[in-house]
Each structure stands twice: as C-alpha cells, then as structure tokens.
C-alpha cells in the first residue's frame, strides 16, 4: 500500500479505548446515514423505473394514443407467439455465446503476454486495453470505415493479397453478423485482459519458479499451475461478460444497425418502443430481459459467494 501511513498508528501501544468514548449517536445510525444517498440514487433511477416498467408491460400503451388499456399478460402471450421474438432470442444467445468464448480465450492469451516483463510494457498494456476505453460510436465509425467495401483498408488488403479476387462486402446482410462479432471481440476483450492481469499479479511467483526448477515446460506450467489459478476468475468473467453481451445495445446498433441479422433483444426492444411507438409491447420485452438478468445475476452471485468460501 502507500508508504505515507502515519507511523503513530504502528507504534500506538495499549488497548484501543473505544469503549471509553461515549458516542452521541448509535453506531449503526452512521452506517445508515452514509448509505442513504446511494440507496436513493439507485432506487430512484433503477428500482422505481422497473416498477413503472412492470406496470407498463401489462398495458397496450402507445406513444401517440392517449387511451391505455390493461391487457393483463397479453403482451407476453404475443411475444410467445411471435416468431420474431424467438428469432431475436436466438440471435442474442448466439451473439453472446460466440463473443464471450472468443473474448475469454483471446483475453487470457493477451493477459499472459502482458504479464511478462519487457521494455515498454506500460505503453503496450495501454494499447492492449485501448479499444475498451473509447466510446462505441468511435469503434463503430472507425470499423465501418475500415470495412467500407469500396475504399476501405480491408478491401484494398484483399485485392493486394489475392489479386483478381473480389472482396466480399463485410457490411452486407450476409456478413454483418460475423463482422459484428469480430468488432465486439476487438472492443471488449480488454475487459478480460484487465481482469485476468489483475488476478495474475496475485499469483505467487515462487510457485511458478518452483515448477520451472522441476523442469515443467511453458505448456505444462500453463495447464497445471496458471490455468487452475485462473479458473475461478474465468468462471466469474464468463458469467459477467455473458450478461453484458446479452444486453449490449450501443455497439450492435451503431455498428450493425437494426437489420434482421443483428436484431438482438435490446435492439428489438428499442425498435418496438422508439421505432414503432408501441410502449406496452416494448416494455414486455424489457421485462423479459429483466427477468433473465435477475436469473443470471443470482447465478453469478452464488458462484462468487461459493468461490470466496472456497478460498477462505
């Protein structure tokens, strides 16, 4: 930690005299007081809207029609019967699973590289995490320009490497999903890199040293020592990243638009509400995502909890 720790504290002798000081207010009162502002903020901007959303999802509210009718679970019945909804759910799952798996594999590889000692490591590390630090709109703009079929750097590259070949249009409906996966991986892998790197720094180097002395090669060291150390973090990351990718809106919308091929649940929700003005129907979609998120989060927290018990 910091070195400017007051020395007095270390040398302070005698038992703590807490009991001797008579607090004017009960201790717990302070705790509550300190927590209230954040509770108000979070409840006001997250919990209250959820209640509002739940209410809205049971109506046929429309942005331009003043009459609102209660239709019970009608919106949800419509969703269950809508092929578009199931298609969208499939797209979301495919997007989340694909991007998370690739992020995890690449993230571990890059983190292992960044963990080594080499000259200029600080700058290289920054470069390794840079894509995560810039807004999705920038990522979307830059990649749309790179992949631009006529004048983009990509099409030139294809024409140069494979003379005579026609570069496929990676922004066309056929390819946009694949491109979206690549761009998402490019942007979000650094999250895994930072997290794994942080964990690697807590691995006792003497364990690795000992195994090197025992003659373990880099591969065996990775499989038998480093990977087990990382397994808990990777599980947590897999769940957390899955939740994030499942609900990702910005990069999907900004890079890939709203085409059928990339219409994940967040996009379908956005379109239903802001494109078609069907507030009630959109709210029911958001509710479906809310319920799924609560399930994921519960699993995630259970995993976190079990893990912290394991390490104690």
């Amino acid at each position: 930690m910091l070195t400017d720790t007051p020395v007095r504290a270390e040398t302070g002798t005698g038992p703590p005299l807490k009991a001797a000081r008579k607090p004017r207010m009960p201790q717990w009162f302070w705790g509550v007081l300190l927590v209230i502002p954040s509770a108000v903020l979070v409840l006001g901007v997250i919990a209250v809207p959820i209640v509002y959303l739940a209410r809205l999802s049971l109506t046929d509210a429309h942005a331009y029609l003043p009459r609102i009718n209660d239709i019970g679970l009608g919106n949800f019945a419509n969703l269950a019967a809508s092929p578009q909804f199931w298609q969208s759910l499939r797209t979301t799952l495919l997007y989340a699973v694909l991007t998370v798996v690739i992020q995890l594999v690449l993230g571990v590889v890059v983190a292992l590289l960044m963990h080594q000692n080499f000259r200029g490591r600080g700058v290289v590390r920054l470069i390794a995490i840079a894509p995560y630090m810039i807004p999705a709109i920038i990522v979307a703009l830059v990649w749309r320009w790179l992949l631009e079929p006529n004048n983009g750097a990509y099409s030139w590259f294809v024409r140069t490497v494979l003379p005579g070949a026609d570069a496929v249009n990676l922004l066309s409906p056929t390819w946009i999903f694949a491109s979206l996966v690549v761009v998402s991986v490019w942007m979000y892998t650094p999250f895994v890199v930072i997290s794994v790197l942080a964990r690697l720094q807590t691995v006792d180097p003497s364990v690795i040293e000992a195994s090197t002395v025992d003659g373990a090669g880099p591969w065996r060291r990775f499989w038998h020592i480093i990977l087990p150390e990382l397994s808990a973090v990777l599980l947590t990351l897999a769940l957390l990243r899955f939740m994030f990718m499942f609900t990702k809106f910005d990069i999907v919308y900004l890079f890939a638009g709203t085409g059928q091929e990339v219409r994940t649940l967040p996009l379908l929700t956005f379109q239903t509400i802001f494109g078609e003005s069907r507030l009630g129907a959109g709210a029911s979609l958001a509710m479906v995502m809310f319920v799924l998120l609560v399930v994921f989060t519960t699993v995630y927290l259970k995993t976190l909890h079990r893990r912290s018990e394991d390490t104690e």
Binding site: W30, I46, V124, I127, P135, A283
Partner: protein, 278 residues
Amino acid sequence: MSTLKRLTQPRYVLAIGIVIVVAVNLFPFYWMVLTSVKPGTELFSNPPRFFTTMPDFGAYVRLIESTGFLTYAKNSVIISTGATLLSIAVSAMAAYGLTRFKFPGSKAFTTGILYAYTFAPIVVVVPLYGLFRDLGLINTYGGMILAYASFGVPFSMWLLRPFFNSIPKELEEAAFLDGANRVKSAWYVVLPQATPGIIAVSVFTFLLAWEDYLFARVLITDTNMKTLPVALHDLQNASLQDWPLLMAAAALVSLPVLLAFLYLQKYLIAGWGAGAIK
C-alpha cells in the same frame, strides 16, 4: 527447421505476440488519425496511402466551425464530470459506511447493489424517459448527471469497498485517541489511503458517462444538449460519408482520453484487481 525452433523459443513467441496485439489494436487508431489528415486527393487513391506527406487539417477546421462540436464536447464534459463527482462522493460514503458499521440490512444492501451493477440500460431507459418527462429532467444536465451517477454508484461502490476494507481500523482508532472525530478521521486518515481506488473508480465512472449512447439518445431531445456520442452518430447519418470529418471527430474524442489513461494506468489495473474481479 532451425528457424522454426528459434521462433518457438519463449522470447520470440512473446515478441511476435506483442507485435500482433499492438498491430491489431493500434491500426484502427492509426487509420483514424491518418484519414482525418489525408488531403482529398489521397483519400480514395488506389492503392491507398499508408502515410501522408502533406497533412491537411481542413477536416478539423470544418468540424469545429460547422458542426457544433465544441458545444457537444462541453455537454459531454459537464455531464461526465458531474456524474463522476456525484457518483464518487456518494459511493465513497456508502463504502465507508458499509465497511465501518454493521447495521440492519447492510448485508442485503451490499447484495442489492450488486444486482444493480448488472443492470442493462436498455431495460431502464424507457421507464426512465417517462419518469424524467414527468419531473422535467429531459434535456437537463442535472437529469443526465443523476442517470449516469446512479449507474456508476453500484459499480463504484463494488470497486471501492475492498479499498476501504483494506484500511486497518487501528489507524482510525489511533486518530480518535488523538482527538479526531469520525468526520476528521474519515477525511484525513481513511480517504488518502483509498486514493488509488478512488482514482480508478473515477476513471471508469467518467468513461461510463462519456461513452454512453443510449441514455443520451433517449433522454436528450434538444440539439444543443446532445452529447458527443449522439452528435457523432447524427453526423455520420447526415454527412454522406465525409470520412475525414468523421475521423477527425473520432480522434478528438478518443485521443485525450487515451492520453489520460496512459498517465493513470498504474492505478487502473490495481483498482480493478482490488475490486471488480479479484
């Protein structure tokens, strides 16, 4: 054969790996900056030019003079800074409260806040629009600051708690013996110790507000109140693919942030490691 053997030596693997990472991550940024200063004659040349000898800053001039970029930048800076300050103040208080006092519901609150951390903006943004409209918060800095701060708080508190936890209670007890009260000891003894965490959290909270598109899209309807991400998206739709202009805007938005990170990076991984993931 011997070449292959040499290439699989750890230090070559390391070197090649680093080169690939740097190239893959840096090239888009390079291309962005290069496009922004390419003179029109070189822009669509075939084969493309990978450097330019006559940089042309016309795109930047156009951006500043004719797109309201500075207004949007001002909006973004005010909102992001405000959200960061509010979020840090509030979550540092809570993190201190939760690590120093036990009270009924403190456990439940900690768990509840983790649920809030996983919250998807798309789920909240619609009802929030209704709420903001009723409260007159649409198109206001205050409203945007509140929205981003409340999204920052769960995350900030989660990152900050371990920092406050790691500060020995004996330090504070010593301060009490010296006659300091709770507020003084929190301010002069605890806060300085939590500084690395606070810096890391500030950066991530700032980013959260700086890069958000969705909230700004929905909760801001007045052109003059737009934030940079929304303004850039609108510019893309309106500019008929004026790539130098768009890339100039992209460069101006991302480079200052990256430079700040270069300066702060040692705190970032430490802060992240202490909190979010462990």
